[in-house]
């Protein structure tokens, strides 16, 4: 991946909406110490390198400016690893239902 965006590239930008110390009064201390940061994706309106200022046009046509953080921003959420604590649950409950004297089901779907 190049470290620069061209006009029309799909990118993500970031900007500080409220600096640390200017957060809402009801915010707890650990959050007060951090800025409120916003990220938005859109089409690059000019060339810029990662970390430089960038203006984008969002998918609905709105303009936003901020620091360029990613080009073709990734979707990297996934299903994670199999969880050993859950892997055996299915067979455990099936065995319970196979026990002699287990109740019959009610009428079908």
């Amino acid at each position: 991946m190049s470290d620069g965006a061209k006009v029309g590239d799909w990118v993500q930008i970031e900007r500080i909406v409220l600096p640390a110390g200017e957060r809402a009064p009801q915010v707890p201390e650990d959050t007060q110490e951090k800025p409120l940061v916003m990220r938005v994706k859109g089409f690059a309106q000019h060339e810029a390198k990662l970390g430089e200022q960038m203006t984008v046009e969002t998918v609905i046509g709105r303009r936003e400016s901020g620091r360029l953080v990613e080009i073709l921003p990734i979707y990297d959420h996934d299903y994670g690893r199999p969880v050993p604590e859950l892997l055996t649950v299915g067979n455990e409950v099936r065995r319970l239902l196979e026990q002699p004297g287990a109740p019959e089901g009610s009428e079908g779907r």
């Binding site: 938005v40 609905i60 969880v83």
Partner: protein, 478 residues
């Protein structure tokens, strides 16, 4: 889009303009329903949508919303009957709301809001939500040709996103919405207000009368389906409770279907001890909705929402409120997939976990309905959430679910018999509601009008309300 004049965009200034911005963004003047500083005409406000239940159904059908299947969970019912005393263990049904266009019951809430926005000539809609509602608004806006912005609280200060919310953001983008993603904090609402002001879009809040009227069809439909299948009204409906809309709308729909005897039970995941606006706690929770962090504050102070008067008022409708642990919900999500062939949730399965315990109290010929499922996907799955929990230092193990500790330890039950619906005192919440209502109104003494309103708000008689007011040292003038 409206042209921007020079104005003060500081947090305080925007919050001070809150009511004007909201009035423009909804075309609904809430001051008309006010009845003094504390009370207001709730039913008058609900009728303001101007749509009958039949009209709501037909608006929803235009975009393929509703008419979802009611599935009998035969194997879960058998399992419950093994755990229950002889003759106990209600038939358990689940309303497969994942079959809605955007994969959750939230499509019902979005359908009416977006319809209203289109009818009133708005160019677009905005919703501040980190939940399934975002995808619902995006999907409905897409179908009706409106622009859509979804504002999410997604990252902690390390810019690590909650996997479930990342998935919900991706889905919004798939429907052509712009997704504005923020770090932790209640200033989500401030950003929402600024966007409403700058764009002139409609405020598709979860908490407008439209957002709630849309759910009435869910309660109504499930009553019709149970009557047809079982020849009786549902005995108990278990509802995952967060902001209160699901409880309110479902219960109102049940009442409209004539189900006066149906018990409405709210269920939330217990996340007590974790602060919802804390940067450090944010990624230590494995549920982003359906939990006590929303369930308790929204029930006891509904008007904390992004509208002047919240149409979701759970304490008017709840017969019981129960809590379950995170590990129990992940366990039952696995059971639902393994025994019934339905991969759904996880957050929406909060009510199913509670139902496994509650059904054991009911007779075998009684009917319990779990009133929603939600789509599952990358990030939005027990394996995703538990992998993420481990990465954030949360312990995951099998054991007694009573040993769950939000943010520290998730305990997956060893047997289904360990799943418990833990009673949470409604009276305690009713007291909080009365205290909050008086405090927020600024009234130092209240009159009969306020007492009557608080009776409606808590679904209690005058004696209860008067006693609480006395405990709070609030004089009642006649």
């Amino acid at each position: 889009m409206t042209s921007r004049t020079v104005k003060d965009d500081s947090y305080e200034a925007v919050m001070q303009r809150r009511n004007e911005i909201l009035a423009d963004a909804l075309g609904l003047d809430y001051s008309r329903f006010a009845d003094g500083p504390l009370a207001f005409d709730y039913e008058g406000m609900m009728q303001e949508t101007g749509y009958s239940l039949d009209e709501v159904r037909s608006i929803q059908r235009e975009t393929g919303v509703g008419d979802t299947p009611l599935l009998e969970l035969r194997n879960v019912t058998r399992l419950v009957r093994q755990l229950a005393p002889a003759g106990k263990g209600a038939r358990i049904f689940i309303k497969d709301e994942a079959a809605n266009p955007s994969g959750s019951f939230k499509a019902r809430r979005a359908a009416l809001s977006v319809y209203q926005a289109e009818k009133q000539g708005y160019e677009g809609v905005i919703a501040a939500t980190s939940g399934n509602y975002g995808a619902a608004v995006a999907s409905q806006a897409c179908m009706r040709g409106l622009k859509c912005i979804i504002v999410q609280e997604l990252f902690d200060s390390r810019m690590v996103g909650q996997p479930e919310i990342m998935e919900k953001g991706r889905k919004c983008e798939a429907y052509g919405a712009e997704v504005v993603q923020l770090t932790v904090g209640p200033e989500l609402f401030y950003v929402n207000l600024k966007l409403l002001e700058d764009t002139g879009f409609f405020n598709a809040s979860l908490y407008t009368p439209y957002g709630i009227a849309g759910i009435e069809t869910l309660g109504y439909e499930l009553a019709e389906q149970v009557r047809k299948r079982c020849g009786r009204a549902p005995d108990m409906v278990v509802v995952t409770h967060a902001g209160g809309g699901n409880v309110t709308g479902t219960a109102r729909g049940l009442r409209k279907a004539g189900c006066a005897g149906t018990r409405v039970v709210g269920a939330s995941v217990d996340l007590s001890g974790l602060h919802m606006a804390s940067d450090e706690d944010f990624n230590r929770k494995s549920f982003t909705t359906g939990h006590t962090g929303f369930g308790v504050p929204f029930a006891t102070w509904p008007d904390r929402a992004d509208v002047p008067r919240n149409a979701a008022r759970a304490l008017r409708y709840l017969d019981r409120y129960v809590l379950v642990e995170q590990g129990e919900v992940f366990y039952i999500t696995e059971v639902l997939a393994a025994l019934e062939g339905l991969e759904r949730g996880p957050a929406g399965n909060t009510s199913l976990a509670a139902a496994v315990s509650l059904a054991q109290e009911l007779d075998e010929d009684q009917v319990l309905v779990v009133q929603e499922t939600e789509y599952t996907g990358a990030g939005k799955h027990p394996t995703a959430q538990l992998t993420f929990a481990r990465e954030n230092g949360v312990e995951v193990r099998r054991g007694d679910p009573d040993e769950n500790e939000p943010g520290e330890c998730i305990v997956i039950p060893e047997t289904p018999g360990q799943i418990k619906a833990r009673e949470f005192s409604l009276d305690r919440m009713r007291r909080s509601l009365i205290r909050n209502a008086v405090q927020q109104s600024g009234m130092e003494e209240v009159g009969q009008r306020e007492v009557s309103f608080l009776c409606e708000e808590t679904s209690q008689d005058r004696d209860f309300v008067l006693k609480v007011l006395e405990e709070l040292d609030v004089p009642v003038i006649s």
